[in-house]
Every structure is written in structure tokens, then in C-alpha cells.
């Protein structure tokens, strides 16, 4: 059971990261922003969506990696952030079948299913 006491180990860490060329990262981010902007004028839906959301994910990853130094941080930190994201995904998966959809097993949303003619259901009254 016994063990040697650890020496008072913990100094506040000094400069724990190597600083990359931030201007270069910034330039890439701005270029990606241009891609999103230009992509949004496309009429091909997949192109718009990728330019919008695919690029957003890339941008977020770049900021997280280069500005926030997530990858240099202790291993559990990125996992913590990922687990939090995972919980949001679980929430989405559990809620979407009810909220996103307008009908399911033995239920429907009369109003949402007749958006153009909400009054059509008025015959029930």
C-alpha cells in the first residue's frame, strides 16, 4: 500500500505550446470563408451544403487545432469536448423522431402536415 510521496510536483506550466504561423492559419480560414460565400451562390444544393457546413467543420477544426491547441492539450481534454458533443448528438437522436418529424406510429401533426391549408382541418370543429 505504501508509496513514496510525490514531490510537490506541480509548477504552473510555462509556454506549453509551440506557436505556429498564425497569419498563415488565418489566411487559410479567410480563404475557406470565401469558399463558403462563393459556394452559397451555386444552385447545386450539395455544393451549397458542402460549402456551408463541410467548410464550417474544417474551419472549426482549424481554429480548435491551431488557435486553441486542443491537440497539444492533455489527451482527455479533447475527449471531454467530444463526449459533450456526443451527448448533444444523443439528445438530437432522441428528440428528432418526435420534433423533427410530423407523423409517426399512430400520431401526426395535423397543422404541420397541411401547411398551405391549415384551415382545412377546421371541418373538425
Amino acid at each position: 500500500m505504501a508509496r513514496q510521496a510525490q514531490p510537490e510536483s506541480h509548477m504552473q506550466a510555462e509556454a506549453h505550446v509551440h506557436h505556429p504561423n498564425y497569419i498563415k492559419v488565418w489566411a487559410i480560414l479567410v480563404a475557406l470563408l470565401m469558399v463558403s460565400v462563393l459556394g452559397s451562390f451555386s444552385h447545386i444544393r450539395p455544393v451549397v451544403l458542402f460549402a456551408a457546413f463541410g467548410v464550417a467543420v474544417i474551419k472549426a477544426a482549424l481554429v480548435a487545432k491551431n488557435f486553441m491547441h486542443v491537440t497539444v492539450e492533455k489527451g482527455w481534454v479533447p475527449y471531454l469536448l467530444i463526449v459533450c458533443l456526443l451527448f448533444v448528438v444523443i439528445l438530437f437522436a432522441g428528440v428528432a423522431p418526435d420534433v423533427m418529424k410530423h407523423s409517426g406510429e399512430h400520431w401526426n401533426k395535423p397543422l404541420a402536415n397541411q401547411p398551405a391549408q391549415g384551415a382545412a382541418a377546421a371541418k373538425h370543429e
Binding site: M1, A2, R3, Q4, A5, Q6, P7, E8, S9, H10, V83, C84, F87, V88, I90, L91, G94, V95, P97, D98, V99, K101, G104, E105, H106, W107, K109, L111, A112
Partner: protein
């Protein structure tokens, strides 16, 4: 630690950053709120036991007042009693002492946390003074009832309730993150991950669960606030919203919340049982693994509160399975606690009585949950008194029984005096017996179809039967006795401040670090900050004269052997 002159009374007790003072602030605020919540229980149980009679100290309970009372009872007991006492008070008091440091890592954030909490309590109580009175739409606050004053008739009260709850969340986010950081970073040298006492582990894990689950509800609360005050339509189906969204966001937090308050209670009980059985906790690591499993699973069971709420029936099957799954680690945890008793030398002092009662009663709460978690039977039992009895068999052990276990156990450390044992035992037996007499009849009325949140059963022929009314009256009378017994505790608590036997540093002969400092601990806690050499539960370690070895005592024999190697 401070070299400054002693601060004035006001600064010392109201604006202190000392974790022990903040713990006391949380404790006393929580106890005050418990009295308010208990008074509400008295009023509405009187109405149920003796319908439409004048309730002494309150008056006639009308339908609207009844709704407000049950809503406030639920909200207060969970958010303003269980949370502040179990997590904040014990967390604040114990974490720095048990991990061997002088204060929280961020004392001023800690103070801010309490101040926001106090504000939230005041906002909640202020709703009693506004037009329309306090919110009466149940603590779950389902919209559209909660979203529109035209429906709930308490437009101001509903908003105040929501603001109070949101503030309370912010307070516990700040406090909880502080607990996490302090435990992760500020432990005494030598205290490894598996040397941390279980109660600290559990409070920290509870804070993590809280932190990860409350976010969507904070978002949901903002949406509900806008629905109330800015006529948005987030939960209004006629305008593209969906009332089920709130229910999901609420229970996505609401179910983990059960474990948020359960885990600290489990931790307290672990400490008490280990000390009074003079035993190492059976399978310390297994306890932790089951806790992690419970923590994770608690995020995937929430919709079992909504089986019949209009969710897609296919989803109910998934949530039913996960719900029964979560019973596995919880059962295992309880088994481990019982196994800890094996081979011990059990002394039945008051804290131990409470701790054992926690296990005994919580098991009843646990097994009755199976009836509700299995979707088929929940169709019938949902929103009946069976549910009420079930969750009071979990929440009373958590928020009352475990709290008393903790309070009676750490009272000598907090105030330097022992509580009176005789009064303590009278209080214990009085509370436990009456507690069961309150809620066992409610299992029966629930099984007979009594629905919740109804101030009078006069309209319901099946429920208005005299046999059921007798059960309700029995429950109410038992509650009166239970409340009366609490005054014994209150007397004991206040009287022992001055007149209790002087405690000394370690009256229970316990091995964790908080017992190595004087009672009550001075500002800064440790005259010399400790170094940790062993786990927290070294009782009956062979080769020692004493039957316990404190964490900060070096193991001379073996370390000498190590040097000669």
C-alpha cells in the same frame, strides 16, 4: 493563510471566500428552504387527508393554491434543498479538507456561486408576493401551460419560477466546475486517483453529470422565457413549435439530475459505513466503475418519463431497455455497500443508523422504479401516486436520510461539538418509521389509480371511495409526526453548538484527511499541508496497533524495506 487582520463579522460570514463558511451558507439556506418545502408538504397533505378543511397555519386550500404548493414543494426540495445541501454544502466543506488543500481552487467564483444561488432562492420566494401568486404548473413546467399566462393564470409567477431555476443552474455550474477543478488539480501530493475518498469522487462526478446535462435545459429555459415574455412560438404548435421539445430538454436534464443528487448521497453513505463498520469499502474501484457506468447511462434513459407523453411509441422500447440496463450498475453498487458490512465491527451510532437506513429504504425506491421503467406497466402507473411513492422512496433517502447521515457524521468537524446521541436516535427512529407510514399507503392509492397533482378526488367516483381516503389520511397523519420529529433534530442541532460534548480532532477514529485537523478546522485548514500515502479506507490493516491508518501517515515498515532493497 491570510496575513490580513481578522475581517469584520459581516465580511466574515456574508462575503467570505472561505470554503467552510460558504458550505455553511449553503447548508443553512438549504435547511431554511427545507422548512419552507416541508411546510408546503404539510399544507397540501392536510388538504388531501382532510379535504376542504381549514389548515391550521394556512387556511383553506383552493385548487390554484394547491397547484402552486405542489409545484413549489417539488422545485424547492430538488433545486433548493437537495442540490445545495448534498452537493454544494458537503462539496464545499469536504472537498478541500478531504483532498488536503487550503481552499477551493477559485474561492471568489465559489462565493459568486453562492450569491447567485441566494438570489435564485429570493427570486423564487418573491413569486409569492406577485399578482396571481407563484407558478402552479408542476415542477416539470410543461408548455403550453407554462408558456402562457392565459393558461396558467400566473403570468408573473411562471416567469419568476423560470428565472429562479435558470439562476440556480448558473450557480451550480459555477460551483460544480470549481469542485471538478479543485479535485483534479489541488489534491495533496501523493493522492492518486484511487486515493480520493468516494464522497469526493461522487460529488465531482455528480458535478460533471450536471454540467453535461443542464446545457440543453438552459437553452430550453431561454426559449420558454421568450415564449412567455416575447410571444415567440418555440413550444406553440400553431406556430411551428412543439411542446414535446421542452419535455425532452427538461428530462434530458431531469433524469441525470436524479443521479446528480443520488451520487453525493451514495458517497456520504460510503464514508459513514466504512468508518462505523471499520471496514475498507468493498471493491472501491468497482464502486467507481459502476458510478461511471451509471453516469453515462443516465444520459440515455430520459424519455422513460415520457412513455405516454405522446412520443413515438417505438422510441419507448429503446428507453425502456436502457432504463432496465441502468438498474444493473446501481444494483451492483448497493450490493457492494452491503458487502462492505461483511467482516466488520459494526457500531450503530446515529450516523451509521442513517447510512444503513439509506440503503434499506433506497432499495425499495430502486425496485419500485422497475415497475415504472418497464414501459408496459408504466402505461397504467404513470402520473399516479405510485410514482410519487416511488420517487419519494429515492429522494427522501437521498435528500433527507443521507443528509442526516452526513450532518450527524460531520457535525463534530463542522462545529467542534458532538450531537446528543439519545436525541439523535429518537429523531432517527421517529423519522424512519413515519417515513414508511407516509409512503407505503401511497403505493396502494397509486395502484388503485389515484392521479397526481389533484387537490380533491370528489369528482372521481373510483378515487373518492372511503377506503382510499383512509389511506390518504393515514399518510397525512404520519407526515405530521414526521415533521414534528424534525424539531428534535433542530433542537439537537442548535443546542449542541454550545452544549455538545467537545469533539476533538477525530471522534469517529476515521482515516480520511479532514479528521487530521482540529474541529472546527481553522482558516486555511491545515497547519502544514499533508502528504498522502494510502487510500482513504485503511481500517483493520494487519500489522498496526490501531484499527485505522490515516491517509497522511507514512508506512514506515514498508518504506524502510523499500530503501534496503
Amino acid at each position: 493563510m491570510s496575513e490580513h487582520a481578522a475581517p469584520g463579522i459581516f465580511e466574515r460570514y456574508f462575503f467570505s471566500t472561505d470554503h467552510k463558511i460558504i458550505a455553511m451558507q449553503y447548508l443553512f439556506t438549504g435547511m431554511g428552504m427545507a422548512m419552507i418545502g416541508g411546510f408546503f408538504a404539510y399544507v397540501f397533505r392536510m388538504q388531501l387527508g382532510f379535504p376542504n378543511q381549514n389548515v391550521p397555519g394556512y387556511g383553506i386550500v383552493t385548487a390554484g393554491k394547491y397547484n402552486a404548493l405542489v409545484t413549489m414543494h417539488g422545485s424547492i426540495m430538488i433545486f433548493w434543498v437537495a442540490m445545495p445541501v448534498l452537493i454544494a454544502a458537503f462539496g464545499n466543506f469536504l472537498i478541500p479538507l478531504m483532498v488536503g488543500c487550503d481552499d477551493m481552487a477559485f474561492p471568489r467564483i465559489n462565493r459568486l456561486s453562492y450569491q447567485i444561488f441566494l438570489l435564485s432562492a429570493l427570486v423564487l420566494l418573491s413569486s409569492f408576493l406577485v399578482k396571481g401568486g407563484p407558478f402552479g404548473g408542476a415542477w416539470t413546467a410543461y408548455p403550453p401551460l407554462s408558456a402562457s399566462g392565459a393558461y396558467n393564470l400566473t403570468p408573473v409567477g411562471a416567469t419568476l419560477w423560470l428565472v429562479a431555476v435558470a439562476l440556480e443552474f448558473v450557480a451550480f455550474l459555477l460551483g460544480g466546475i470549481n469542485f471538478i477543478v479543485t479535485t483534479m488539480n489541488s489534491r495533496a501530493p501523493g493522492m492518486k486517483m484511487y486515493d480520493i475518498p468516494l464522497v469526493v469522487w461522487m460529488i465531482v462526478l455528480a458535478s460533471v453529470i450536471f454540467m453535461a446535462s443542464v446545457g440543453p435545459l438552459i437553452a430550453g429555459a431561454i426559449m420558454l422565457l421568450f415564449d412567455q415574455t416575447m410571444s415567440t412560438g418555440f413550444y406553440d404548435p400553431t406556430r411551428g413549435g412543439d411542446p414535446l421539445l421542452w419535455q425532452h430538454l427538461f428530462w434530458f436534464f431531469g433524469h441525470p439530475e436524479v443521479y446528480v443528487v443520488l451520487l453525493p448521497a451514495m458517497g456520504i453513505v460510503a464514508e459513514v459505513i466504512a468508518v462505523f463498520a471499520r471496514k475498507k469499502v468493498f471493491g472501491y474501484k468497482t464502486v467507481l466503475y459502476t458510478t461511471w457506468a451509471v453516469g453515462f447511462l443516465s444520459f440515455v434513459v430520459w424519455a422513460h418519463h415520457q412513455f405516454v407523453a405522446g412520443i413515438d411509441p417505438r422510441m419507448a422500447n429503446i428507453f425502456s431497455v436502457t432504463t432496465l440496463l441502468i438498474s444493473v450498475p446501481i444494483t451492483e453498487m448497493v450490493f457492494l455497500y452491503i458487502a462492505t458490512l461483511y467482516g466488520g465491527s459494526i457500531r450503530l451510532d446515529t450516523p451509521m443508523l442513517w447510512a444503513l437506513a439509506f440503503i434499506g429504504e433506497f432499495m425499495i425506491g430502486g425496485v419500485t422504479g422497475i415497475f415504472l421503467g418497464s414501459s408496459g406497466t408504466d402505461i397504467y402507473l404513470h402520473d399516479t401516486y405510485f410514482v410519487i411513492a416511488h420517487f419519494h422512496y429515492t429522494f427522501v433517502p437521498i435528500a433527507i436520510i443521507a443528509t442526516f447521515a452526513g450532518l450527524t457524521f460531520w457535525y463534530p468537524k463542522m462545529f467542534g461539538h458532538m450531537l446528543n446521541e439519545t436525541l439523535g436516535k429518537i429523531h432517527f427512529w421517529g423519522t424512519i418509521v413515519t417515513f414508511n407510514v407516509i409512503f407505503i399507503p401511497l403505493f396502494i392509492t397509486g395502484t388503485a389509480g389515484d392521479q397526481r397533482r389533484v387537490y380533491s378526488y370528489a369528482q372521481f367516483a373510483e378515487q373518492a371511495r372511503p377506503a382510499l381516503q383512509h389511506l390518504r389520511t393515514t399518510s397525512t397523519i404520519a407526515l405530521l409526526f414526521m415533521l414534528a420529529f424534525q424539531f428534535i433534530f433542530l433542537f439537537n442541532f442548535i443546542w449542541s453548538f454550545r452544549h455538545g460534548k467537545t469533539a476533538g480532532a477525530n471522534p469517529w477514529r476515521s482515516a480520511t484527511l479532514e479528521w487530521t485537523v482540529p474541529s472546527p478546522p481553522p482558516h486555511g485548514n491545515f497547519a502544514q499541508l499533508p502528504t498522502v500515502y494510502r487510500g482513504p479506507y485503511e481500517y483493520g490493516l494487519p500489522g498496526y496497533a490501531d484499527d485505522f491508518v490515516p491517509q497522511n501517515v507514512p508506512d514506515l515498515a514498508i518504506s524502510i524495506a523499500g530503501e534496503t532493497d
